[in-house]
């Protein structure tokens, strides 16, 4: 890991000169029209220069000024989304009990896995999915029905989310490279089953900077983190400026945000003294831009205290908004998840680029090795209304057009029974969905076999998902790279190995 190239001395720039520029819908439509719906390189180059002409002071994707790392940068082509809210259901919710309806399971309940399906799986790298389960099909204990204009079937676990199916795009054929939590989770976050690589949120803020200079660009929200811990959402080898900031949906929302009580009243005076001493010290070092940057960072920090407190004030929201998210629900866990959903909206509204929101209220998450119903039923209840409230709220504010919402986990679960009416991990085929941010609506792509075990039609890998999310943000994933120890690191891996799902973008 070596950042030296990245941190070659840059021309000193005015630290606070960058102001967020507004993202005008009319401009966006123009870009989309000129893009012609494709990713042609010539078109991209044209659009990049167009974008550059409109923001002459901005740098390009990944061209980070180390003294002003969060300044917004120009995407490769017109973005459909400018922010991402990634809802991560930790532990592996079952696709066949939520969004991947398989009526055949009813008939096969209690029977072994059909030989053709078993043989097909055994012939793949996912054969170990059988490890640890019984050779007995367990039907879904939940009932399904079709929703909306699109008529997409959703189980009774997700009644609120189901009301939004016409805004969602389902991918039913996701696959992960490991059937264990941490490696699969690392892969969904960073593109690699091994720890040490950079997470999507870090890549996106590294690429694009962020629109708000008084709030962090990459925020994580959780009660408990994902399995595998901080290595999931880390900046890895990317410059540390792109590490995530953990917000809490309580006050104060940030660690170290407020001074110890007896020191707070004099803090402005202290800062004034500090800056005066720093300026005198600075005069000994002509051209030492690091000193200017650190002086500026203290002023920014002072303003961030106010901005972060402000954005964290969920109580300022009217009652009907609290109700919409389910913050008034009786269960503490619903309240907790819903507050995070509302905070995510408030962050995105203020220009935060990437919000990673985890549902992990306890040590298990959705990891239903036993007693599926006792695990999934409450968890769905705790999260469904908050997710639906977020979608509705973003939509009513016009933010859904520019905010990409992703609902995903590290894998799904087997149709086979494990232990006492539980299900094993399933990396061979599972469902995620996306909404907003230029994603086509009411769409389903890819599919699993008849029992929801393995992706059979159009299997999709995490790297394809990453490439798609980046494309929605106006980034060509192959050009978002950093050379680390002689190797071009990308979240999508070796060049040519990922394919953005361009057909699901408008």
């Amino acid at each position: 890991m070596d950042m030296s190239k990245h941190f070659q001395p840059a021309n000193p720039q005015a630290i606070l000169a960058n102001r967020p520029e507004s993202f005008l819908p009319t401009q966006r439509r123009d870009f989309l029209r000129s893009l012609g719906g494709g990713l042609g390189v010539v078109a991209c180059a044209a659009i990049e220069s167009q974008l550059r002409a409109q923001s002459p002071n901005r740098r390009s994707v990944g061209d980070v000024d180390p003294l002003n790392p969060y300044a917004p940068r120009i995407p490769h082509f017109a973005p459909r989304a400018k922010s991402v809210i990634f809802l991560f259901m930790v532990g592996g919710p079952s696709q066949i009990d939520t969004f991947d309806y398989k009526p055949l399971l009813e008939k096969l309940d209690g029977k072994p896995v059909p030989a053709s399906i078993r043989d097909a799986l055994n012939a793949t790298r996912h054969a170990n999915v059988f490890h640890g389960c019984d050779d007995v099909i367990l039907k879904s204990p939940y009932t399904f029905k079709p929703y909306g204009q699109s008529g997409i079937w959703v189980s009774e676990l997700m009644p609120h989310t189901a009301e939004h199916v016409d805004d969602l795009c389902f991918i039913h054929s996701m696959q992960a490279d490991s059937n264990n939590h941490a490696p699969a989770s690392y892969q969904l976050h960073t593109g690699d089953v091994r720890a040490g690589k950079a997470s999507l949120g870090s890549w996106v803020t590294y690429g694009l900077g962020t629109e708000s200079q008084e709030l962090p660009g990459y925020v994580v929200l959780f009660d408990a983190g994902p399995l595998g811990g901080s290595a999931n959402y880390t900046n890895g080898f990317l410059p540390p400026a792109f590490q995530p900031t953990r917000f809490a949906a309580t006050n104060p929302p940030l660690q170290h945000l407020v001074a110890p009580e007896h020191l707070a009243p004099g803090q402005r005076q202290s800062l004034d003294l500090l800056q005066e001493l720093n300026r005198m010290h600075r005069d000994q070092y002509a051209g030492a831009t690091e000193l200017d940057a650190r002086i500026a960072s203290y002023e920014l920090a002072y303003r961030m205290q106010a901005s972060a407190m402000q954005v964290g004030r969920i109580e300022d929201e009217p009652e009907h908004i609290h109700k919409l998210y389910g913050i008034d629900a009786p269960e503490a866990r619903t309240q907790s998840f819903s507050r995070k959903c509302l905070l995510a909206r408030r962050l995105v509204e203020q220009g935060v680029r990437f919000v990673q929101l985890y549902d992990m209220p306890d040590k298990d998450g959705w990891d239903a090795h036993a007693k599926l119903v006792e695990n999934h039923t409450p968890r769905a209840k705790w999260t469904d209304i908050g997710v639906a409230g977020l979608l509705a709220d973003l939509k009513q504010r016009g933010l859904l057009d520019t905010t990409l919402v992703v609902w995903a986990s590290e894998f799904g679960r087997t149709p086979m029974k494990q232990g006492d009416l539980g299900r094993q991990h399933n990396a061979a085929g599972f469902t995620i969905w996306m909404a907003g941010g230029g994603v086509r609506k009411g769409l389903r792509i890819g599919s699993t076999d008849e029992i929801g075990l393995m992706a059979t039609e159009r299997p999709i890998q995490f790297r394809d998902l990453h490439a798609t999310i980046l494309a929605a943000l106006g980034i060509d994933h192959e050009r978002l790279s950093l050379e680390v120890s002689g190797r071009d690191e990308r979240i999508t891996g070796v060049a040519g190995s990922a394919n953005p799902l361009l057909d699901i973008l408008v």
Binding site: M1, D2, M3, S4, K5, V41, P66, P69, H131, G132, S178, N180, H181, A182, P183, A195, G196, F222, D223, A224, L227, G228, G229, S230, A231, N235, F237, P239, P240, Q243, T245, A248, Q255, H256, V258, L263, G266, Q269, S270, L273, L274, L277, N278, M280, H281, G287, A288, E290, Y298, L300, A301, K363, H425, E483, S485, G486, R487, D488, V494, G496
Partner: protein, 676 residues
Amino acid sequence: MSPTLQTPRSLVLGLRLTLACLCLVSVSVLEKHLFAQQDQRSGSTPSIGTALEDPNNPIARLFGSERLDLWSLRPIQDTRIPESGIPDSTVQGQSHPIDRFLAEPLAGIQLMGSARVSKKHQLERLSLDLIGLRASYDEVIDFETDASSESFDHQIDRLLADPRFGEHWARLWLDVVRYSDSNGFDWDEFRKQAWNYRDFVVRALNSDLPYDAFVLWQLAGDELLAGPPESEAQLDRLIATGYLRLGPYDNAAKLFNEQDRARAEVLTDLTETTGAAFLGLTLSCCRCHPHKTDPLSQEDHYRFRAFFAAVQFADSTPVLLGNQPQDIQEHHRNAASIQESNEPIDGLKNEKHSVLTGFFATDDKDHIETIRVLDQGNHQKPLETVEPGFPSVLFPNAPRIDPPSHGRTTGRRLALARWIISKDNPWTARVIVNRVWQNLFGQGLVASSNDLGITGSAPISQELLDHLSVYLVEHDWSLKALIKYIVESDAYSAPIGPWRKLRRLSAEQLRDVVLQTTGQLQHRNGGPPVWPVLSDDVLRSNPAVLDDNETKTKGWYPSPESQQTVRSLYLIQKRTVRIPWMESFDLPENTVSCARRDASIVPSQALALLNATWVAQAAGQLAGRIENSTDAYRAILGRDPSETELRICDAYLGQGRSIQELVLVLINSNELAFVP
């Protein structure tokens, strides 16, 4: 990728795959015909120059001869020291060979144009660089008033002999070897004995263990031992093998029948880390495909990996009781735990023995894994078998591997380690010299210190790098001798300018310096890590802590309040739960080798230093012992305030602000945050 010209992706991919297959085949075929003049049985190698000029060089055959045109492949040259003197007669110094070497490449930057920095800054710089802590007010006065011509030499010797030298330089090495006290992945179990390795590094640096032995012990210390360790030094050889198992380990893989993946990851990690740490070779690229720019084939990665084919964790090592000198028994009590056992073990049946538990690795000679090239690095797609081998660009033939006479290990790692420290190796000395230079100057003579390849940076002065490499080897690989030689130069004491940048203190340095200057820092003589008290909210960043019991070791075990102010080196370093305050100041990921710390400047750092409770408490502690602005300046910044500073600080206090607040302001000052 050019924005205007693009080959269809599928075509590119197809070509790459074809190329990969061709390469793999061709290397195997070629090897049999290479370097006919070489004695295959003895494995003696031709000189490097010969290998590079041989028309059969496998890398040249694969990629063309331009790949051989890489400075770091050339033998280390003992270049003549340039004559003293640039024409400008006002220039100071010029006597130290380092300054003579640098005169030419840096002529345009006026390196030597001005005198050395002030004595105060010179000592502060030296102190921060050698022991990681600030020079005190009294130390600065002593140095300033010492008019002897050897005054700086005395300071260098004093600081090199300070036991805190090893603590500071150990941190730098631990970055390179991705040290952690836990396994990583889901469970991230505490490695109760990993600190033995950390303490070994501190000991090695403080006792100036020659760097070649330092390398040898880490890679093959167990292979050097004929039997159970019989002295502290022998025990250190075993403890050093902790290097082989420092990488992340997915202990949960077996639950999902993914042991093969976990094993492949261990071998990948060892290959990549060893290549980067000791050789500056980027072996990670060629795991999946032939290296795009460097003279490394895909097969080279797997040949290198084969040296580790028999490595297994060996945390319990049998030791015969009653057969140990007093010192090792003493050591065992301190450094590793020893337990009596009645379990029969091979070769020791019916004998009373004990089991030494620590953090060790060794070979399982009966299970030497067959190493195969992996298609795209995927362990589920093995291709042809390979045998151990050094990078084929210089050493295409099979190396000679002699299993040690004790018969317990394969001799593979010993062969690798002996080659790494041999004179035939053009990388090893350069890499460590460059790391030392980087630690003293902020940037190496080669900026990319884990990458001496084509995409890495070119050295500022290869002659100087080689001169220092020769110096190191000729001085019995003494790192202290090398450090002393470098810091004696004018270049080291040059003022801040285009060539010598200000450096922000690292997270550890900053925390240590705050504790030091406020009088809180306590000495700790190694031992198990200290666990800070963190809120439940922070601990839940890995939910594994919620699923702990006495045997799982997935939890967080806060240390007593009385231990919390130790040096940062001794704080617990988990892989999945980071200490937030430290993380703010750019703690690197500890799952892969980190060549060089970043030093970002972002607002969250200002908040951490302004608002953290422990910093305010430290400021309060000092404030309770001092009376005025001058005292605060002396304690925190090691100097008296100027008249202006005194005036504005007193005015600040006059406005009702406290000494504690003034101390906190000085802790936050740029003067404290940067190496002058």
